[in-house]
């Protein structure tokens, strides 16, 4: 294999860090630039160059790419990412408190009722952690799909927000999701904060200014010629969570 072919193969592999739709659209062009920048005889990508491609590829996957002109959609996407951040912080706090909860149980175990003991066992804590991960995933997913201008995501966000509202008001509250210790410390702050973020996001998504950025015909599969200069992305809502 010639030096050039071997270098090109390695560059192609690095371009795998980019999202597929972006790669299909821009891969050949970026590859041409990479090859043009490479000095004769280079066989493998440099370390800094590889790191730059990996970083850029990951960024393309993660970043919100709503055009600046779509202010309302950008704001909604940001709120959704903020919701994910708050939920993540909440999860970290829960994890930090697991040790405390266990100690509490050891100390007071003999005074707890059977129901309270069952709330503090490992499977319960696991359930609480998982029930924290779901809203985080929903926030991120909705932020991504709305950010790409998918109309179904806007509707789904609204439905999720409705569910979150019911959840917040206690309609879906199952006794199993109450940890006695942690809510005492934090109260309803986090669920209310994330609910407010969801409310604002949904409101923004349905503003007339946002509607222009949602493709009415639904999502068109990314393919030849479909690439719009702005890969629009917006956000969605998610549910508040509680410990």
């Amino acid at each position: 294999m010639t030096d050039q072919a071997s270098l090109e193969r390695r560059y192609r592999r690095l371009l795998g860090w980019y999202p597929r739709a972006y790669r299909q659209e821009n891969g050949p062009e970026i590859l041409a630039v990479l090859m043009a920048c490479a000095p004769d005889g280079q066989r493998r990508p440099g370390l800094a160059e590889s790191a730059d491609l990996i970083r850029s590829g990951l960024w393309m996957r993660l970043r919100p790419s709503v055009p600046r002109s779509a202010r309302t959609v950008r704001a909604a996407v940001r709120l959704m990412y903020a919701g994910a951040v708050v939920s993540t912080v909440n999860l970290i706090i829960l994890l930090a408190f697991i040790g405390y909860i266990r100690a509490y149980r050891a100390m007071l175990g003999h005074r707890l009722t059977a129901a309270q003991v069952s709330q503090l066992n490992t499977s319960f804590i696991t359930l609480a952690v998982v029930s924290d991960l779901v809203p985080i995933a929903l926030w991120l997913w909705m932020a991504r799909e709305n950010g790409q201008g998918r109309n179904w995501a806007r509707s789904l966000s609204t439905v999720l927000f409705g569910l979150a509202t019911l959840d917040l008001t206690g309609a879906f509250r199952t006794p199993v999701i109450r940890i006695t210790v942690v809510p005492m410390l934090f109260g309803p702050t986090v669920p209310v904060l994330t609910w407010l973020a969801g409310l604002a996001a949904v409101w923004l998504l349905w503003r007339p200014a946002s509607t222009a950025f949602f493709k009415p015909e639904g999502f068109t599969q990314a393919g030849h010629g479909v690439r719009s200069p702005s890969r629009i992305r917006s956000s969605s809502s998610r549910q508040p969570r509680h410990l």
Binding site: E29, I30, V33, C37, I54, S56, G57
Partner: protein
């Protein structure tokens, strides 16, 4: 506006350029100080396209490789002009004050 973004727009100010052309041009404009890496360049180009400050002018195949030429949009021209004016105002202020300081120094 980040310096790299400013330089990319500047590279496109007097005509369309393809990716590699932008890299070499930015290097020249910055006096060899800034050499954009392709990943960084395309991240910036993608954002500028999304913001509709630049657009695709045309595509060519040269030696079997795709070249896409970019150009400033009217919004891009306006934005670059405003940013350049802002930088000039700041530079002028800095130079003016330095000169004053030099004038009063012993």
């Amino acid at each position: 506006m980040q310096e790299a973004t400013f330089l990319i727009l500047t590279a496109l100010a007097n005509g369309s350029q393809h990716g590699y052309g932008i890299i070499t041009d930015v290097q020249e404009i910055s006096g060899d100080r800034i050499r954009l890496r392709p990943g960084t360049l395309y991240t910036a180009l993608d954002r500028l396209r999304a913001d509709e400050l630049i657009g695709v002018d045309r595509e060519e195949i040269v030696d079997g490789r795709l070249r896409r030429y970019y150009r400033l949009t009217p919004a891009g021209i306006k934005r670059l002009g405003a940013e350049a004016a802002r930088l000039r105002a700041h530079a002028t202020a800095a130079l003016t004050r330095l000169n004053l300081a030099a004038g009063t120094a012993p």
